[in-house]
Subunit: 270 residues, 2 copies
């Protein structure tokens, strides 16, 4: 990190110390992409999205963009309100576990490798998710977030998917791994890795609102993808790229397996 | 906004006032998705990504995720270092215009409707972009970000695209509007709206690094999109949805037209 960057970082800390201009949640949907959204006829769906240290921000921002346009009341939840070191930049949780609405329309968990493993081993996180998940209308995740739902006991007997590198860990916790971009089983909706958050978000929008609204959102965010390459799944990418990625994750995968086995042990004792 | 949410917001302000735990930029790529990235052989590409009030966070987070995995040195730049009210949540700029590296590999501008219009009318923003853009290896945008590049004079004589609702504004500022998801003309690379940031990011990754690296990133973020609906372009969505969205934007589009005409007037006087 350059000296200039460090000087900027110090200045950032000073500015944040003034608390200047920083509100809690972001702009209401009407201020941003959803300026053209019709006034909702129904009450705003209550959504709690877990934000945790080392999370992958894109796992969250894809679905959150869709749900924000759908005029949801979004709570970014963590143990306490405060800064969260995500992969790209710090963000802030807006609602503590204690203050999170008890009855949610949507409970959502993003992924994030080491952050996921920490959550899988954290009773405070798991107890919060198990409680809200027991009543939420939809219990959902993107990427390795499903491993956290699994460790909280919320996927036992449910079909689910996850990041392609860790799908073998789901069954340890009683989930039925099911290949697919977005897997819906009753009120559980889980997405594959990172970018599946967009497909997940639109799928959820249609369930929360209706198909017309979901299509309007799709047009607003111009979601007509044209990947410049065809390497988005292990099958299409081929064995060399798969090996490159998997070889760097041996330690991480061992830790995730251990966390899943510990969860299974807890279930058997309960 | 509920009382509980307001209480949480006050607590957030207090916590941020302590500056607790908040660093400048996020985790290095090696801590997040790119744990498996090979050590780069080349120097880290220097990337400046504009962050501005009322920006659409997803415009930024898609490309930033790709570039972070590619081990780029990412500066989130604004006039000063400090909090920025994006559409979903506050984020923080990490580098001021003054301290931004003079010679960049990538200059990037995200979109954000009213935020875009404010930038199109802001000499400080336009002067910064014109200066860095005159030397940057790649001058890039997603969504309405191309209108800001245009107002800075950086698209005169270049093929470019933008959010589908405002593509008619590009030619006012001398750009050659060209339909497409990602349009490359010499060192200008512009993407369509919001979600085109992923296609743009992978396109840029291949130019900055190589195709193998771009494909590895694509596999890491499992970018094999399966939109649940087929409404991602005006043509596919049909006239009813287009009318719904356009009808809410008449005032905004008039302001963007005016800002573009003012820019054209500046060019003619220069």
């Amino acid at each position: 990190m350059s000296d200039i960057l460090n000087a900027d970082r110090r200045k950032l800390m000073q500015l944040l110390a003034l608390g200047a201009a920083l509100g809690g949640a972001g702009l209401p949907g009407s201020e941003a992409l959803a300026a053209d959204a019709p006034p909702p006829g129904a009450p705003r769906p209550k959504v709690a999205m877990l934000v945790h240290p080392r999370m992958v921000l894109l796992d969250l921002i894809g679905p959150a963009t869709v749900l924000n346009i759908c005029q949801c009341e979004i709570h970014y939840v963590w143990k306490e309100v405060g800064p969260i070191a995500a992969d790209l930049m710090p963000i802030a949780s807006t609602t503590s576990f204690v203050n999170c609405p008890k009855d949610l329309d949507v409970l959502f968990v993003p992924g994030g490798i080491m952050g996921t493993i920490a959550c899988m081993n954290d009773p405070e996180v798991l107890n919060f998710l198990a409680d809200r998940g027991s009543r939420a209308k939809f219990v959902t995740s993107v990427c390795t977030g499903s491993l956290v739902l699994g460790a909280a006991g919320l996927l036992r007997g449910y079909k689910a998917t996850s990041n392609w590198t860790v799908t073998d860990i789901l069954p340890i916790m009683g989930a039925i791994y099911t290949p697919g971009r977005v897997i819906t089983d009753r009120n559980r909706i889980t997405g594959a890795a990172v970018t599946a958050g967009l497909d997940f978000g639109l799928t959820l929008a249609a369930r929360l609102r209706d198909e017309h609204t979901a299509k309007r959102v799709q047009l607003l965010i111009e979601y007509a993808p044209e990947p410049p390459f065809d390497a988005g799944t292990p099958e299409r990418a081929g064995p060399e790229l798969v090996r490159e990625i998997k070889s760097g994750r041996v330690g991480m995968e061992a830790m995730a397996h251990k966390a899943a086995q510990d969860a299974a042990l807890r279930f058997s004792k309960a």
